[in-house]
């Protein structure tokens, strides 16, 4: 018997992406630069988060033509974003044959209460999280991969650091609780009880967890890896910088050799201009992307 769309296959692809860098691209040319630099996957978009932030208005799923052209241009996996709760955009992306769907806070939410029921799909989903409860709610809905939300399009790593520390902190807490306290812990986390039990047993998330939202330099990538992330998403950080090909290659090397400061020093040299960053406290509350998602 041949089975497709199983959770083993969905989470398995995320396992194959580990230790790698997934790069945001908006054209086939950028996708080829990313692949040549060693990206393990690309995220096909109409605009990178920094430009979405600058443009304002409603950000939606990319035009299928852009996504298909990028899928033709590279042999590595291609991901694409749908709006939170927009299950029809997800159906469209699945029919295009994308390898992963990111139900993403970078786009404008389509539903103010509910996320997509990701168990309905054969294509796997990745979702953002700021804490353990949020991660487990998304996994409960069928997400096969998690990423920190960070604050997209800022080139500022502070929020991604806050989110991975929070998730790790709560995993350590759950891992040390006696069995009789886990139900109340699930209530406090607002997380499914069965998944809380699984975290307590594994002392880890049951799926792969990448870093995203503000990574702009090789050292940012290595910082997130040393904090325990399984891999890196770079959004605006590469193609909003002075020398995208060189920076992309450097971030790939930094994600592999994250514990080797000599390699990090070597690849950080002469990278040109990094993307212009934004301080988090200058962002208006209604423009904070990380607060989208329920």
């Amino acid at each position: 018997m041949v089975e497709k769309g199983t959770f083993t296959l969905k989470s398995g692809l995320a396992q194959m992406l580990k230790g790698g860098v997934i790069m945001d691209v908006t054209t086939p040319e950028q996708a080829k630069i990313a692949e040549a630099a060693g990206a393990c996957a690309v995220m096909a978009l109409e605009r990178v988060p920094a430009d979405i932030r600058a443009a304002g208005g409603i950000a939606r799923m990319a035009d299928p033509t852009i996504i298909l052209k990028i899928m033709e241009a590279v042999t590595i996996p291609v991901m694409a974003k749908c709006r939170i709760g927009h299950f029809v955009e997800a159906q469209v992306l699945e029919s295009l044959g994308v390898d992963y769907i990111d139900e993403s806070e970078v786009l404008s939410p389509a539903d103010d209460k509910y996320h997509v029921n990701k168990n309905d799909f054969k294509v796997p989903f990745v979702c953002g999280a700021r804490n353990l409860g949020e991660a487990l709610r998304r996994i409960g809905e069928g997400a096969a991969m998690i990423r920190t939300k960070g604050e997209p399009g800022t080139g500022n790593v502070i929020e991604a650091v806050r989110h991975i520390r929070k998730v790790n902190d709560e995993i350590r807490w759950i891992s040390n609780l006696p069995a009789e306290e886990l139900m109340t812990a699930a209530k406090e986390l607002q997380a499914p009880y069965e998944l809380v039990l699984e975290v307590a047993r594994l002392k880890a998330l049951p799926v792969v967890n990448f870093a995203a939202g503000g990574i702009a330099t090789p050292s940012d990538a290595a910082l997130m890896m040393q904090l325990g992330c399984d891999g890196i998403f770079v959004g605006s950080g590469i193609f909003k910088s002075g020398d995208p090909a060189k920076r992309a290659k450097a971030i790939v090397a930094a994600t592999t050799y994250y514990n080797d400061a000599a390699v990090l020093a070597e690849v950080s040299r002469d990278l040109g201009e990094a993307m212009v960053g934004i301080n988090i406290d200058t962002i208006k509350p209604e423009e904070r992307m990380q607060d989208r998602g329920w």
Partner: protein, 190 residues
């Protein structure tokens, strides 16, 4: 078995899963990112991941020449998925960094994209029935010389061996079944 030390190439991909599987078999497993770490191991597993990513990093950090040299000296190597692609002498229609050690020609993403990924039972000669997890998997189009077919699915070759080399298009490290890891360990001399 306890005396054997297996390196898992840890440039990118599912190396931790292989490390756990080897440890569960009672052998020692370490992550390999440098030529110095490679010198300490008796056998090497090249895991699933992206073959272009692993190949480029292998070349940039001179691990390709180090791996080929250690193979010549008798080290056994097992490649799963991306690892199988990197071990092949020929990658159909592609020009990418590779090791080119085994007499096989492979087709990347041979079964299609992620929506075509699948699980199925396989009959492996001489191991028997195993659960095959295929994720954007390649297949072997043909083998020649001393290379030998071990398993096929829908008439596509998905497992083969050649002396100290072993390749699987699927992922035994994701199933919890140790039999293929044990088979590889038999190829590794102390």
């Amino acid at each position: 078995m306890a005396g054997k030390k297996i390196g898992i190439l840890a440039l990118q991909g599912a190396f931790i899963e292989h490390q756990q599987a080897i440890t569960n078999c009672g052998a020692q497993a370490i992550q390999v990112r440098t030529a110095r770490e490679l010198d300490q191991v008796d056998g090497l597993i090249i895991p699933g991941g992206e073959s272009t990513t692993i190949g480029k990093l292998m070349q940039a950090y001179q691990l390709d020449t180090a791996i080929k040299a250690r193979y010549e000296q008798g080290m056994a190597i097992w490649g799963t998925c991306a690892g199988m692609i990197l071990l092949a002498r020929e990658i159909i229609g592609m020009n990418q960094p590779m090791l080119g050690l085994m007499d096989i020609a492979v087709v990347r993403n041979g079964f299609g994209r992620q929506v075509d990924s699948f699980e199925t039972e396989l009959e492996v000669d001489p191991i028997g029935r195993v659960n095959g997890v295929f994720i954007r998997a390649p297949y072997v189009e043909r083998v020649w010389g001393p290379a030998r077919i071990m398993a096929s699915h829908e008439r596509k070759i998905v497992m083969a061996e050649e002396d100290r080399l072993l390749v699987t298009a699927f992922h035994p490290e994701l199933t919890g079944d140790k039999c293929i890891h044990e088979y590889f360990l038999k190829k590794v001399s102390d």
